[in-house]
Each structure stands twice: as structure tokens, then as C-alpha cells.
Amino acid sequence: MAVEVMTVEVAEATAKGLVAIGAGLAVGLTGLATSIAQFSIGAAAVGATAENKDMFGLGLLFTVLPETIVIFGLVVALLLLF
């Protein structure tokens, strides 16, 4: 039975892979969280704008607020990768 020995190269490659997975999860999960937050705010914003056109700007602003979550995820991913 052959014994697998982890060389430095293998360890480095594994670490890089794990970092990439971490970065992907950071962006992916925060993206999901943003979408969950945005769907309800978006629906309410569309409803409010349909009743009062002046609400468009404010509605849009509220809808994009959860984008900050995914931006945090992106920043973490970039910090992990570079």
C-alpha cells in the first residue's frame, strides 16, 4: 500500500485552491443574501413608485442599499486572492 506524502508544492496548491473556494463562497453567499434582501425591498419600491412617481429615486436608493453586503463579500474575496 503506497503512502501518499504531501510535498510543499501540493500543500501550496491545496492552500491556493482553498483560498479560491473561500473567495467564491464570500462573493456567492453575500450575493444570495443581497438578493434575498433586495427582492422584498424591490417589490415594495415598485409598489410605492406605482402609486407615487416621486418615490422612484428613494425606492431605487433603498433597493441598492443591500448591495453593500455583496461589496463586503467582494472585498473579502479580493483580500483573500491578492
Binding site: 427582492f39 424591490g42 417589490a43 415594495a44 409598489g47 406605482a50
Partner: protein, 353 residues
């Protein structure tokens, strides 16, 4: 698949937001106080500057004075309800339509009564409020019919047609539609109660509200019967589905004093606004109409509370529909009261604010 996607959470949020915006445009208590200090022309002008503008402008050519206000308000109510139904998606629309079908009962009975008393078609049409599930075209078709039998036949697709058909012969025989009206309203409440368990979001709290509405309607009936000295044959006047059983209501209606009725009600509502009202009512501090208005106010407050507790459910829509109905009723009461020369304080006693 379509109906499932139409009634997802986003649809409820969208519809509830729109209804909340509309509700915020309804007249506030301060507006009513201002209106109470105005004369009829000023009231007309005030109404014209609000959400009722389109209808008042449209009808100003044909009507004037109190008729203009009254018909303008009715038209606005009907148009607004139809607009709300257009906004609502999927099961929300079905549910709202089922609740609005009480306007159908009003319209059908108005037509039947008008026709049997030989009132002119145009005059009947002025009174109709096409806010329910029977649209204007169908109502026009019904108005064109001369015999009540043909009117009933034409309503074969109406959800309450089986009840109408069953009760119609007896109503024709007795010459009064009152018994049939009672049966139709009972069937209406049974139908709406059934709809609350159809999977609609907010159905359970709305069912609780509906039970309160049935209870309070029954209490109003019991108090009216007591005040009118009626002690017999009251069973048929009570609506089933509330917290009170019909037997209990019949027993209450046979009470010897108003205090006994109030005590009977307090057994089911030992605390809260209903109990407080019964306390005050038992002391004889309220006139009948004031008591009725206070009970209506309790219903509306309950509706407001559940719509805040379940903001993204059908409750937000239902509270708007209810509030809008009472706004129209209040404006009508103010206009009619002013025309009859009543004072502001007297009219205020008839308002639900």
C-alpha cells in the same frame, strides 16, 4: 405554475405597499373636523380637491348639490374597488373579490326591490354601487329585465345564486325580500370564512377578524331588537360563524334589560375594547347609533392592528377596502347632515373616524 408565482412573497409585498400608500391618502380625523365646519358648496369643493375629483368632474354635468356628492362618492368607491382588484395578483384577487361580493347582494336586492316597486331604471341605476363581482355590464343587463324571475335567472353564474334561487320563491310569496337578504348575507359570511382557509397569506388572522365582525354585527342586531321591543323569531336574523352560538344570541335577544345583554357579551369578551364598550353601554351613556358606530370603530381598529402585525398579507388590502368604505359613508353622512341642517356635533355622532 402561474398562480403560484403570482402569489409569492413579492406579490404580497407589492400589493401591500400599494394599499398602504392608498390608505395614507384617506381623510384624517382633522379633515373630518374641518368638513364639519363647512357648508355644502365648500364640502363639494373640498371633495373635488381630493381623490374624488375625476368622478365629481364627470358627473357635474348631470347632477348638482347633494346628488352630485352622493353619486360621485358611490362611483368613486366602485371605481376604486375595481382598480384595487386590477392591482391584486392571483389568490389575493380571488379573496378580495369574495369579500366584495357583499356589494353584489346590495345591488341585486336594490334592483329586485326597485323593479317590484316600479321604480324607473335610471333611478335604480343611480343607487347601485358596482363595487362587487357583478360588473356594470351585467348590472345593466339586469336593469333591462322587467320581471324579477328573469333577473334571478340571469344571475346563474353568481356565487350566491343557489341561495338566491332557493329563497326567491318564498320572498316573492311573502312580498318581502328581507328574509332572502338575511340568508344571502349568511351565505356570504360562510363563503368568505371558507375562503380564509384557501391558503391565502393572512387568512387566519383575517378569519379571527371576520368572527369579530360577525359577533359585532349580531350584537348590533340584538341591541336593535331589544330597543325595538322584538323578542320573537330572532333566530333567522343571526349570522353563524362567530364566537357566539345562535342559541346564545337568541337567549341574549330575549334579555329583560340592556344590562343583561351587555353582561352576556362580556362573557365572551371579558376584556379589551368590546368589554369597555359594554361597560359604558350598560350604564346607558350611549345612544343606539353611537353604540353601533363605536362597535364599527372596534372592528376597524382590530383590522388596523392585524394589518400592522401581518404587514405583507391580505390584511393590508382588506383594511384599505374597509377604511375606504367608511370614508365614503362618513362623507355622505356629513353632506346629508349639512343639507338637513344638522349641527356639526350631531353629525359627528354618526361618523366612524
Amino acid at each position: 405554475m402561474i398562480s403560484a408565482s403570482q402569489t409569492g412573497p413579492a406579490s404580497y409585498i407589492y400589493a401591500a405597499t400599494r394599499m398602504r400608500v392608498r390608505k395614507s391618502k384617506l381623510l384624517a380625523r382633522e379633515d373630518y373636523i374641518r368638513l364639519l365646519n363647512m357648508g355644502l358648496p365648500e364640502i363639494t369643493r373640498f371633495i373635488e380637491e381630493t381623490e374624488y375629483k375625476a368622478e365629481i368632474d364627470e358627473l357635474a354635468v348631470s347632477f348638482s348639490g347633494i346628488d352630485l356628492i352622493e353619486i360621485g362618492l358611490s362611483w368613486n368607491l366602485a371605481n376604486e374597488y375595481q382598480r384595487v382588484l386590477k392591482i391584486l395578483p392571483g389568490v389575493m384577487k380571488t379573496f378580495a373579490r369574495s369579500y366584495l361580493s357583499h356589494w353584489d347582494i346590495f345591488n341585486v336586492l336594490t334592483i329586485l326591490r326597485g323593479k317590484s316597486q316600479g321604480v324607473k331604471t335610471g333611478k335604480i341605476k343611480e343607487i347601485l354601487i358596482p363595487a362587487g363581482t357583478i360588473n356594470v355590464v351585467t348590472l345593466d343587463r339586469l336593469l333591462a329585465e322587467d320581471s324579477p324571475e328573469r333577473i334571478v335567472e340571469n344571475l346563474s353564474s353568481w356565487i350566491l345564486h343557489p341561495v338566491l334561487e332557493r329563497e326567491f320563491a318564498a320572498a316573492q310569496e311573502s312580498g318581502s325580500y328581507a328574509g332572502m337578504e338575511n340568508e344571502l348575507y349568511k351565505a356570504f359570511y360562510r363563503y368568505v370564512l371558507k375562503q380564509t382557509v384557501s391558503g391565502i397569506k393572512g387568512g387566519k388572522p383575517f378569519r379571527e377578524y371576520l368572527q369579530l365582525e360577525i359577533d359585532l354585527t349580531n350584537i348590533k342586531t340584538v341591541i336593535r331588537l331589544y330597543q325595538g321591543g322584538v323578542r320573537e323569531d330572532v333566530r333567522d336574523l343571526m349570522i353563524e360563524g362567530g364566537n357566539f352560538s345562535v342559541d346564545e344570541l337568541v337567549r341574549l335577544a330575549g334579555s329583560e334589560s340592556i344590562e343583561e345583554i351587555m353582561e352576556g357579551v362580556k362573557k365572551y369578551y371579558p376584556s379589551g375594547p368590546v368589554a369597555n364598550l359594554m361597560e359604558v353601554g350598560g350604564d346607558g351613556e350611549f345612544a343606539l347609533h353611537e353604540m353601533e358606530n363605536a362597535l364599527t370603530q372596534v372592528m376597524l381598529d382590530k383590522m388596523d392592528r392585524i394589518s400592522k402585525r401581518y404587514p405583507f398579507s391580505i390584511c393590508s388590502t382588506m383594511v384599505y377596502l374597509k377604511r375606504k368604505r367608511y370614508e365614503v359613508a362618513n362623507l355622505r353622512a356629513i353632506a346629508r347632515g349639512k343639507e338637513s341642517g344638522l349641527s356639526g356635533e350631531q353629525i359627528q355622532g354618526y361618523l366612524v373616524m
